[in-house]
Structure formats: C-alpha cells, structure tokens
Amino acid sequence: MKVLSIIIKDLKIVLSDKQAIIITMLMPLILMTILSMALKGSFMDSDDGGIEKIPVALVKQYDEGADSKIFIKTLEKRLNIDISRDEVNPEEMFFGDFLGNEEVSKLIDYRVVEEDRAMELLNEGEISAIIILPEKYIYDMKINLLTPFRNNVDVKVLTHPGRALAGEIVTSLMEAYTNTMSSVIIGKNVLIESASANDMGGDGFDNIDEIMEGMTDLVAGMKVNINNVTVEGRRTIKSSEYYAVAMMTMFVLYAAGQGGRMLLEEKDNQTYQRMVVADISKPHILTGKFIVIFLIAAIQITIMLAYSHFALKVNWGNIKSLLVLSTASAFSVAGLGIFIGSLTYRAENYRLANAFESVIIQVMAFLGGSFFPLDLMPEIIRKVSFISLNGVGLKAYLKIILGYGFSDILINVSILAIAGILFTLAGVIIFNKEVSKNA
C-alpha cells in the first residue's frame, strides 16, 4: 500500500512535467517519423515488405567488336592459335548469366547508358549506383578466360552517398561476381598447367573453350552472398521499422536518467527525510522508485509501439515475443535508473544524471545503432555494440519484426534481464552504504 502510494505519487509528478513528457514521449515520435521519411532511400523500402529493385546504370567503356578482333589477332600472332570458333562471350556472361541470374535480377534493375548520362542520373538520385565496365573489358576477359595470361580488369562501382545500403548491396554483388570470375580463371590456369605437365600439347588447348564454357556455368548458377541485404533470406527492414526501433530503444534510456534524479530530488525536497520519519523503509522507497522507472519505460514503449504501428504502419510481429522483450527492456532500464539514482544520491549532485542523459545515452545510441544501422558502421563499432543496452534491444526488436521466433531473441532478453538485475543490485549496495552513513 505504501509502495503503491509512492508509485502513484511519482507517476503523477512525472506525467505533470511537460518538459520531461516532451523529451521522453513526444521527441522519439517526431524523430522516428522524420528519420524514417528522410532516410527512406538508405533502406530497401517497398510497400509489400519485399525487396525493391535497386536502379543501377551500366556504362560500357569498351568496344565489343574491336576487342574481339584484337583478341583473335593477338592469339594468332603470339600463340599461333586459330580461335575463329571463339564461343566464350564475356559480355553474355556478365549481362546474361550474372545480371540475368534469378537472384540478382530480383535485386537490380539496370539500364545501359553513356557515362555522362549515368553521372547525371546518379546526381539526380534516379539511380543508386553506376557499374563501369572498363575499356578493353572484352579483350582482357577473353585473355583471362582463354589463355594462360592474366590481365587486370578494374570494374568500378560508384554509389549514391544518400543510399548507403543500396550502394553496399551493389558493391557486394559485384564483389561476388568478380570473386566467381577469379575462381574460374584460376581453375583455367590449373587446367593449362596440368595439360603442360602431362605433355598433352595442343590437345589441351583445343578443348579449352568447351571446358571454359562448362566452368562459366558457375557464373549462371552462382549463389550470391547477400547477407547484408536480407537477413538470412528474410525480407528487408524498412526505414520506418528501423527508426521506430532505433528511437524507441534509445529514448527509453531517458527513463533511467529521469529516474536517476528521483532519489536526490526527494532528499533535496526533504521529502525523503519525511518518508523515513513516517517509517517508510529504504527497501520500500527503492522498490517504489524501481517500479516507477519500469512503468515510465513501459509507457514510453507502449506509446511508441502504438504510434509506429498506426502512423508509420510498422508491423511489430509476434505479440508475445514483443511483450517479453519490452518487459525485459523496461526492466533493464529500471535497474539502470536505480544504479544512476544511487550514484547521484551518493554524489549529492545531478552531474552524473545529467552526463548520462547528455553524453552516455548518445554514445550508447551511436554504438547500439540508433543513429545509423550497424551494418554501415566500421567493424570495431560493430564489435563493441553489445555494451549498449539499446543495441541489444534494437537487434532483438528487428528480429521480431523480421519474423524470428522467441528462441532467436532469448539471448537478448536474457542479457537485458541480467543487466537489469546487476544494475539493481549495484544500486541497492551503493544506496545502502550511503544511507547507513547519513541516516
């Protein structure tokens, strides 16, 4: 009953604080709306929740006819080989086998244009990337595929700075293509060296185009590694979904900052002392504060879930998983709030709580991916992201949205729960030390 009175009183105080309401409740709604709209291009947004094709321009700097003629002449002159029945076609391999590949064609919508036009389209945002096949591309590729020689082929990919994720995908696809081609070329060299070693003479080269044709089937059937595009074969995350989660997991931390001030505020107002005289035990006071912070976080989460669902059309997935994860998130925030509150009470000033809100939350938000998707972050940041509570929550919420089961978020839920327990225990120890010293 007494704890309940403390909870009701604190909730009334918090909910009557307009500035706190703006920061903890309204600001995240505004930000998630703005960011999901503004950064739509950085995500694979589409209405059906599937993958929207990335518009790409292809620039051919080579002359296919001229390259082929030079190649035949070079072979006749240097190797004395007649390659008139040359059936290896690098252009067909790239456009037909690679870009025509079932998986790749789902991702990329390309058009072949001149270089100047391609640059214009990129600047205007009409396309997300340009793939430039260099001069003598056909010649160099034929040399690589049909002779013992290896020429360097530099395929360039230019990406739109505002569409980082789309650019990443195109780059990733091109890397997959060039890796596959490198494998084919290495295989060819091994074949030629084996033929020479076994004294097969010209017979080995007579069938090389047939062998190469068989090997290039690899390209047609290649499985492109696109894990950074779709999460293990599931649909992509939309910007509205990402930033609904990102802002929610970030702003819920403000409940801990707000709660972190409560104990010292009670002391400064003399109401803490009055409660002690009214025979309210310290565990009662701490329990009350813990539940208040938990409820504030829970209210924040509920409002943000509801807003993003109805206003931004975010489909939050499995309700039970969502409920468990949200409870664990609010629990960890409450623990963190008690920890900060006890330290603030002990320090007898609000510097720590202020620093938590103005610096620590921002750092945690950055590391946890609330500002930018972690996939776009350097490796080192991805590695340390686990230290931020919002990062742990963010990953789990995204998994729920993508349709993962509860077992897939169990580790995240456990981390949040354990963090909540540890923070609470630390807070209780610090608070009791201080109380035994002063009261």
Partner: protein, 309 residues
C-alpha cells in the same frame, strides 16, 4: 514523554551538538531557542531518527529510540524547516500521499484531510498546485502534512521562517490550539517572541550547548534588573556597541540589523546619555524602544551576542 541524555553530534571536527540533556513532558510546548547554527535542527534530526548521534541516548516513553524507532515514528509528526512537499501536486494530493504513508485510507483519510485543511485554513485552496501557494500557505500545508495521523508528539523546526505576519499569526494560533487539544510540541525558533508566546518551558541553545533552561519566568529571573533598549539608527558603525558600553550602567550592547540593543540596570536614567553618545557619533535616531527584561536580554547576558546574530 521524551528524555534526551548527554547528546553529542560531531561533523568532522565540528561539534554541532555538545552534550545536551533535557526532558519534554507530555502536553507541554517545549521550546528550543537559539540563533542559527546553535544546533537546534541537528538535535531535531537526531530525535526524529534521521541522524545517528555521536554519543548519548534519547528515550521516548521510556524506550530508547535507537533500539526501537518504530514506536516513536508512529507517534511522531515532523514539520521540517524546509518545505517538504511536492510542488507539482495539489495540496489535496500532498495530504493524501502523506496520509497514505501513515496508513490512512478511504473515508478515514478523506475525513482527516478535511479536518487538517480546516486546522491549517487551506480548505478552499486544496485543489491548487502547491507551486501556486504563497510562502505562508506552503508553511501551513507543511504543518498539515504532519498532523494527518494525529501524532502524540509534534516537532516543529522553525515553522515561521520567511513568511508574512498573517500566516505567522495563524501558525502560532494553530500551535496553541493543537497543544490545547493535548498534543505535545517541541518548537524550535530563533524568534524570542514566539518562544515567549508559545512555550511553557524553554531551552536556550548556543554553539551546540544548552546555556539555560526553564520557564520564561525562571529565565527572566536571571536578568530581572535589566532593561532592554532598542535604538534604531540611520547610520551604525561596527564600534557602536563598544561606544555604548562606555556609558556607566550599560551592561551589554549588540547590533542586530539597523538596531543597537542595549541592556542596562535602569533604562530611563540611561536614556539621556545614550542620546548624547549617538549625537557624538554623528548618527540619527529613528526610534527608541524600552522593554522590560525578556529572553533577548537573557541570551545577551549569557552569550554576549544578540539572539539573531
């Protein structure tokens, strides 16, 4: 009812309370009178179980409050020197919260809130947020929050500091009414007039010690020959008390704000010489009051300084 024995409280090397002993009897208004920093609030904090003493013992109804604080806490109402309320809640919400903490609920709580609102004269303003109250109204609500559970012992720590005369008068009347209803009250103040008006017995504290105690009459007996003369001047120099002490018959002199307070054995006769000294010092007299012996005189007599220095 409450017995304080040889109480000490040190903060580092500073002795805030230095070996005080006194007893509060059931049904009385017991005054702790002294200037700021005398150790009154520290004493109150120890009695309220908010601070542990460095040494000493306190018994409430015969039982040590350090061994069993529950009995005292249930029967104690505390009115802290600062306003211990929630400014963004209404007066009613504040009273309901503190009533809840004392185990009151439902119709009983509602009834007590109404009764207390009547006592503190805030019935019409309970729906307003406390932050909109005047200083005096906040002080009255601060008292009200301590009355909800009908405490046997009410401790009031400087409850009239910084408020308007009307609210002050209301608070003093309230204290007398509560005492008339049987409530025992410990009242700390540095206002001599309040202690004189309210308290049946008074302890005068200075620098952590009790320098005198007794009823007002007993204390005034200590300086019964003395007359207090307050001279309000438009220009006071620091050496003014010394100048007045040179007059034969002036026993003590001290400055408080723009007033010099003198104590002499026969005020009427001293007056002419005092005026002459003021003129010599090229100052102008704005007013002169002559008082019969009082607690101010006692304090000056015992400590050599004015009560509100």
């Amino acid at each position: 009812m409450l017995k304080v024995e040889n109480l000490y409280k040190n903060f580092g090397n500073i002795a805030a309370v230095a070996g005080i002993s006194f007893e509060v009897k059931r049904g009385e208004v017991f005054g702790l009178l002294g200037p700021n920093g005398a150790g009154k609030s520290t004493t109150i904090s120890i009695i309220s179980t908010l601070l542990p003493p460095s040494r000493g013992q306190i018994f409430f109804e015969g039982e040590s409050i350090f061994e069993n604080s529950r009995n005292l806490r249930q029967k104690l109402g505390i009115v802290p020197q600062d306003i211990a309320l929630y400014p963004t809640l209404t007066g009613y919400e504040n009273l309901r919260f503190w009533g809840n903490l004392y185990g009151l609920k439902g119709a009983e709580l509602k009834k007590r809130i109404n009764e207390v609102a009547e006592i503190i004269g805030l019935k019409e303003r309970l729906k307003d947020k406390v932050e909109k109250y005047s200083g005096g109204m906040k002080r009255r609500l601060n008292i009200g929050a301590a009355l909800l559970h009908k405490p046997d012992l009410l401790i009031m720590d400087e409850p009239t500091v910084g408020i308007d005369p009307q609210s002050r008068s209301h608070i003093l009347e309230t204290v007398l009414k509560l005492n008339a209803q049987g409530m025992t009250i410990i009242y700390t103040t540095h206002y001599m007039e309040e202690a004189e008006e309210l308290c049946s017995r008074i302890c005068i504290m200075d620098e952590g010690k009790i320098i005198a105690s007794g009823t007002k009459q007993e204390l005034v007996e200590l300086v019964k020959e003395r007359t207090r003369i307050n001279i309000k001047l438009d220009n006071i120099s620091d050496n003014m008390p010394q100048v007045f002490k040179e007059i034969t018959g002036v026993l003590d002199a001290a400055i408080l704000d723009d007033t010099v307070t003198l104590f002499g054995e026969n005020g009427d006769i001293l007056l002419a010489e005092i005026i002459s000294k003021v003129l010599e010092e090229k100052s102008k007299i704005q007013s002169i009051d002559i008082h019969k012996p009082d607690l101010e005189a006692v304090f000056l007599h015992l400590t050599g300084k004015a009560l509100r220095d």
